[in-house]
């Protein structure tokens, strides 16, 4: 292997990319607008939940409860009759329906412990759990405050001091922004490497390379370093300008350490892109294949939903995916301020997966150059 060849070919990749306006726009878009949009578009967990109230009591207390629901968490409550409730929930108009029974206020003050019914549309998982918790707390607060005017109520002696670390007010934008950066890194490194290979094949230039005194290893390494460089530079810009600057997300840990992790990750994903480029016979096949590969890589990596909630076999299988380790690494460094002493296992895992992927891609690349030419 001659390093000069790897260098020259890599420079050629960068020059080619510079003259490809569509790819440049895609890169610029992915690392700026897409991240900004994804971060700001994610609504907080409970936003504008539709709520309806069946007030069969019509007492000051029931009115007080109805008045306690307001935006941004809830839409203004719709007052309905008991008869309308089922139809409205069936049609999906309301996520929550509260039924306050007749004589609720009187019974409560008399100590008869009346029951309020809370109906939750449990097909709307994103709001069902959190929303019912909020509703219980709100009703409880209102009833207690109301009751205190009439009689003494003991406050609990044991307080719960609950704090969220790393993101004290649990802003979704912080999470969304960084996870979007990760998704873009994965997507672009696969697309750039795979598309660069397929483009060379479609234009017949790969054939040209193969009759010159360069080896497949040199060709592959050149693509990896050039594309990795592009992605890493774009990531650095995205993290500092968009995430820290525009979105104002505080980064806890070291950005250079994260970029180092990203470099190892990109080594693995570019190899994967080249592998896909050798499997697909054409750009359209590559595009379809990409969707099938990219979706599980992104959705099951732990960047969208918590890993621990997935079935065990999915968790185990996904340990083979570079994205899983990269998400752990990124969350550790960027949110929790972890140093290398904490995240080294992810570095090792990524390097290992990268080496295997690179080896497989190289073998496949060597084996298919005949058919390619």
């Amino acid at each position: 292997m001659r390093l000069a060849n790897v260098g020259n070919l890599g420079v050629k990749e960068l020059r080619s990319l510079l003259r490809d306006p569509i790819m440049l726009v895609l890169i610029a878009y992915s690392f700026t607008v897409a991240i900004y949009a994804a971060a700001t578009a994610v609504p907080e967990t409970l936003t504008r939940a539709a709520i309806a109230i069946v007030d069969e009591d019509r007492s000051p207390l029931s009115a007080r409860i109805a008045g306690a629901f307001y935006p941004p968490y809830f839409l203004p409550p719709v007052m309905i009759t008991a008869a309308e409730m089922d139809a409205r929930m069936d049609a999906g108009h309301d996520t929550f329906a509260i039924d306050i029974p007749p004589d609720f206020q009187r019974d409560m003050l008399a100590g008869r412990q009346p029951a309020i019914q809370l109906n939750v549309d449990a097909t709307r998982m994103s709001q069902a759990f959190t929303g019912s918790g909020y509703i219980q707390t709100i009703i409880s607060d209102e009833v207690t405050a109301f009751a205190q005017r009439y009689r003494a109520v003991a406050t609990p002696a044991v307080d719960l001091a609950l704090r969220a670390r790393f993101n004290p007010v649990l802003e979704e934008a912080w999470f969304g922004a960084v996870m979007e950066v990760i998704n873009q890194i994965t997507m672009l490194s696969i697309v750039l490497a795979g598309a660069a290979l397929i483009r060379e094949r479609e234009h017949g230039t790969i054939e040209h390379l193969l009759v010159m005194p360069v080896t497949p290893l040199e060709i592959m390494l050149a693509k990896v370093w050039a594309m990795a460089l592009v992605v890493i530079v774009a990531t650095a810009v995205a993290i500092t300008v968009v995430v820290q600057g525009l979105l104002g997300v505080p980064i806890q840990g070291s950005v250079p350490l994260f970029l180092a992790g990203a470099a190892v990750h990109v080594f693995a994903t570019t190899a994967m892109g080249i592998f896909l480029g050798t499997v697909a016979r054409s750009m359209p096949q590559f595009a379809l294949l990409l969707i099938l590969v990219l979706l599980p890589l992104e959705m099951l990596s732990g960047g969208t939903t918590p890993r621990e909630s997935m079935p065990v076999f999915v968790q185990v299988v996904m340990l083979a995916a570079p994205t899983t380790h990269f998400v752990m690494l990124a969350q550790g460094i960027l949110y929790r301020g972890a140093g290398f002493s904490v995240v080294w296992p992810q570095f090792v895992a990524l390097a290992g997966i990268g080496a295997v992927l690179f080896g497989v891609a190289l073998a496949r690349f060597r084996a298919t150059i005949g058919q390619m030419a």
Partner: protein, 902 residues
């Protein structure tokens, strides 16, 4: 000549900045063979496309068959009287369809009934000699057979004007001759038919009745071949064409002189012995042997697909030979041998340099890759630029250069490292005669002065005549090798072409078929307006193609199931198995009771206790625990005495949605613990004032899958059918068969609905598979009416496929179609259609999209039938919305779809 069939009046055509036709005024004679001659890229194809109505007129006026082709009504009326065979081997054919199915498809488009189609196909295949191959897929035919099939497809409806765009380019001479004989017989049978042909072969143009010579978008001269020769005072059309060129273009042009080859030493530069290449059952190269001496110009002459390129690739080591041996400079070809590569220069078929690098950068890169010492590179690059006349264009991008200059650049790149041998694969195809002669002068100089061995392939006879020796190739075999003169002498014929044809006839033992031309059946005008038969013709063809393309079909069916599993588990909103650990600084029964209360929950899994704050920090940082609980010293005593005290709880906020859920859990468990303590001590507390009975409806276990599966099905039934439908149209645009839509009577609506139908069926199959998966693997019950859901699915798929069609009206490449439809479907379907967050909680543009996007309504129906046990009566509002979406989108697509190329 009896009249005029078409007339161009001051016609201009531009592609962006490039001028294809520049103020052309021309009368096309009727009832004869009219030819348009000239090299590639001079505007021949554009002219023919305008006459056929496939391309829209930009400037000027095109009159064909007595009407203006700019007028859509006239085009519709005369369309069935014109047949157009576009450039490229079998470009308007469908490679996976058989010969019969291809012709049948065209017959159906022209509204012929079954009996008529069968009669016509039988006579056409008999006349063209395709009868034995009616069941063979078009993609597996040889170049000559493809062109005959294209001709059958063009003739199936008895056209009055037959337009052939380079019908014989890349076809072997025997097939070429047979093709023209066939045309002559057909014309004899239908004397009224006019034929308009574009060709780059001057020899065949000599036999036409009338010619128009074109260059640079202008007509240079018109008239019969004899008239043109007489006017220029030349003996061949090729020479006449050069003479017709403007002064500036032929400056410095003079005929190529070949110095005879003097065989100094008998040393072989290339030697092949029994070289064979098989791809599966197909033998591309069959025991080819030859020997090329140093300094010789050796030519490979043969049609497209006869094995020339494959042989060259085996010699360069690009392809390992299945059998046989090849030697370069006396040593066996070895793909891993880097040293031999330095002695060989290779120029592949078609331009294959980096279009994104300038001329200078291309030369520089190749010099570096061949390991020239960096000090010598600038000098060498300059020398090449001088020698190949590239100095003026060093900073230009190759894509912007004319073909002749690009070929010189390719040759310069192949020569940059001073190789002793050049392997050139059809280096001059498509290059105009002047540039071709320039190119040959360089080659001859290289061979004679520098003693570079040149191995060149070509399908031009006059180029083959310039070689020292040639091999005639056909169907993977070398028929004969000798000097051109000896070959002509041996067969006792006048030209090399005749000699080649004799050898081909010997090899194939094939007599020119002498079947009678197809009888003229009384033609009938195709139905105007909507014709279901034409629509079904497209559906039929699409379905056959899909069934024979395993990649697309598998992806369409398997892909959705794979994605459903991934998304079912991926978009889970269950939060379980959370890890937590306790820093218990109290260590009493009360503190342990509190810990046990948390550990007993199904949501939490306890890890080893935390030792101190440093440990807590480290373990939270690494993500090992998501919840840390700190119980202060004296907690037990404080609780017992009712003194205020506080439990500290830290949640990992890295994932906000998970943290929210954990916060809810912790608060609930804390309250529950307090309640238990209160119950034991019987002090009244707030919770005792009243109670809240929470009913989780439709999904009592609050399982994520029950909520997600009915939402994932709509996403996938939008994404995949939309993408496949869009691809099916854009594929035709990319492969060129879209021209059939332009020039046949099929209407926009027939085309769109015909394309849509197979994907609607495929989508329904997908739907059944996914419902099956939901019921079995995911164990999500379908509580409501299956038929309601199925009916909604059909409407929904109608909208999804129509959305794909809409996208295909403005997307041009398959890659753009894939990503474009992904963008148009994934974001609105996943984010704005109530899959995760209800439509009512979405604001802004998203809310607007959520109200009209079909997925939103289908999600309501899917959730209603799956989880809420609803039926049609409960769901008529979303049904109405779905029923409207499809027709509206189809109407929009029909409006945007163009029936002509622009």
């Amino acid at each position: 000549m009896n009249g005029v069939i078409g007339r161009l009046d001051a016609v201009g055509l531009r592609y962006g900045k490039a001028v294809a036709l520049d103020d052309v005024t021309l009368d096309l004679p009727a009832g004869c063979m009219a030819g348009v001659i000239g090299p590639d890229g001079v505007g021949k194809s554009s002219l023919l496309a305008l006459v056929s109505g496939a391309r829209a007129v930009q400037a000027g006026r095109v009159t064909v068959l007595g009407g203006d082709m700019g007028d859509a009504l006239h085009r519709d009326a005369v369309g069935p009287r014109i047949a157009y065979m576009p450039q490229g081997l079998g470009r308007n054919l469908y490679p996976t369809l058989s010969v019969f199915e291809n012709i049948d498809f065209f017959g159906r488009l022209f509204g012929q009934d079954r009996a008529e189609r069968e009669a016509r196909i039988a006579s056409l295949v008999a006349a063209t000699g395709l009868a034995p191959f009616v069941d063979r897929p078009a993609g597996k035919l040889s170049g000559g057979m493809k062109q005959k099939l294209s001709l059958c497809c063009a003739l199936v409806h008895d056209p009055e004007l037959l337009i052939l765009d380079e019908p014989t380019t890349g076809v072997d001479p025997l097939s070429r001759r047979q093709f023209w004989e066939l045309i002559a017989r057909i014309r004899a049978g239908r004397p009224g038919m006019s034929v308009l042909v574009a060709t780059a072969y001057m020899e065949e143009a000599a036999r036409f009745d009338w010619l128009a010579a074109m260059d640079g978008g202008k007509v240079l001269a018109t008239g019969s071949p004899a008239e043109i020769l007489a006017r220029t005072g030349t003996t061949t059309l090729e020479a006449a064409f050069v003479a017709l060129l403007p002064e500036a273009r032929r400056a410095g042009h003079h005929p190529v002189h070949i110095q005879p080859f003097e065989d100094g030493q008998g040393e072989a530069a290339i030697e092949a012995r029994g070289l064979t290449m098989r791809f599966g059952d197909f033998t591309a190269v069959d025991h080819v042997s030859f020997r090329i001496r140093r300094g010789e110009i050796f030519g490979f002459l043969g049609s497209n697909g006869c094995g020339k390129t494959t042989t060259m690739k085996m010699l360069t080591g690009l392809l390992p030979a299945s059998e046989g041996e090849a030697f370069l400079f006396g040593s066996p070809v070895d793909a891993t041998d880097i040293e031999t590569r330095r002695r060989v220069g290779y120029m592949s078929q078609g331009f294959s340099l980096y279009g994104e690098l300038t001329v200078h950068q291309n030369l520089d890169l190749h010099a570096r890759l061949f390991g020239l010492p960096s000090a010598t590179i600038p000098g060498r690059v300059a020398e090449m630029a001088r020698r190949f006349d590239l100095t003026a264009i060093m900073d230009a991008l190759p894509d912007a250069l004319p073909l002749g200059q690009r070929q010189r650049l390719s040759l310069a790149v192949a020569m940059i490292h001073g190789p002793e041998m050049l392997i050139l694969d059809e280096p001059t195809s498509g290059v105009d005669p002047v540039a071709r002669d320039d190119f040959w002068r360089i080659l001859i100089e290289l061979a004679r002065r520098d003693r570079v061995t040149i191995f060149i392939s070509t399908h031009f006879m006059n180029e083959a005549e310039r070689c020292d020796r040639i091999s005639l190739m056909h169907a993977g075999r070398v028929l004969v090798s000798d000097t051109p003169a000896a070959l002509v002498a041996r067969r006792g014929v006048a030209t090399l072409e005749d000699a080649f044809i004799r050898y081909l006839e010997d090899a194939t033992a094939q007599q020119a078929s002498v079947a009678t031309p197809p009888p003229i059946v009384a033609g009938h005008a195709p139905r105007r307006g909507f014709d279901p038969r034409r629509m079904l013709s497209y559906s039929r063809r699409e379905a056959i193609e899909l069934a024979r393309d395993p990649v697309r079909a598998t992806l369409a069916l398997l892909g959705s199931l794979i994605l459903m599993v991934i998304m079912g588990y991926g978009i889970t909103l269950d939060v379980e198995n959370l890890t937590f650990a306790v820093l218990d600084r109290d260590q009493t029964t009360v503190s342990r009771d509190y810990t046990l209360n948390v550990a007993g929950s199904r949501y939490f899994t306890e890890r080893a206790p935390i030792t101190d704050h440093a440990d807590l920090d480290r373990r939270m940082q690494s993500g090992e625990i998501t919840l840390a609980i700190e119980i202060p010293p004296g907690f037990g005593a404080d609780v017992a005495r009712g003194r205020p005290t506080a439990i500290g709880a830290w949640i990992d906020g890295a994932m906000p949605s998970r943290a929210q859920t954990i916060r809810g859990y912790v608060q609930a468990m804390h309250a529950q613990w307090l309640e238990q303590r209160a119950a034991r001590s019987s002090t009244p507390s707030a919770s005792a004032l009243f109670s809240i009975e929470t009913r989780y409806r439709y999904n009592p276990d609050v399982r994520s899958l029950v909520a997600m599966v009915p939402a994932v099905i709509p996403i996938l039934l939008m994404l995949i059918p939309a993408m496949l439908t869009a691809l099916s149209v854009v594929r035709e645009k990319e492969l060129g068969s879209i021209v059939n839509f332009y020039v046949t009577p099929v209407t926009r609506l027939e085309f769109l609905l015909g394309k849509q139908l197979p994907y609607l069926v495929l989508g329904m199959v997908n739907f059944l598979l996914m419902v099956g998966l939901a019921l079995t693997l995911f164990d999500v019950p379908l509580k409501g009416s299956f038929w309601t859901l199925a009916a909604a699915t059909l409407l929904y798929l109608g909208a999804a496929t129509a959305l794909g069609l809409l996208a295909s009206t403005f997307l041009k490449s398959q890659v753009a179609a894939t990503f474009g439809t992904a963008v148009m479907t994934i974001l609105p379907a996943v984010q704005f259609s109530g899959v995760i967050n209800p439509v009512s909680s979405i604001e802004g543009v998203g809310a607007l999209i959520g109200r009209i996007y079909p997925t939103a309504h289908y999600v309501t129906i899917a959730r209603g039938t799956f989880s809420k046990a609803l039926n049609f009566a409960d769901l008529h509002t979303p049904f109405l919305a779905l029923a409207l979406a499809g027709p509206v989108l189809i109407a929009l697509s029909a409006m945007l779809l163009r029936k002509q190329e622009r």
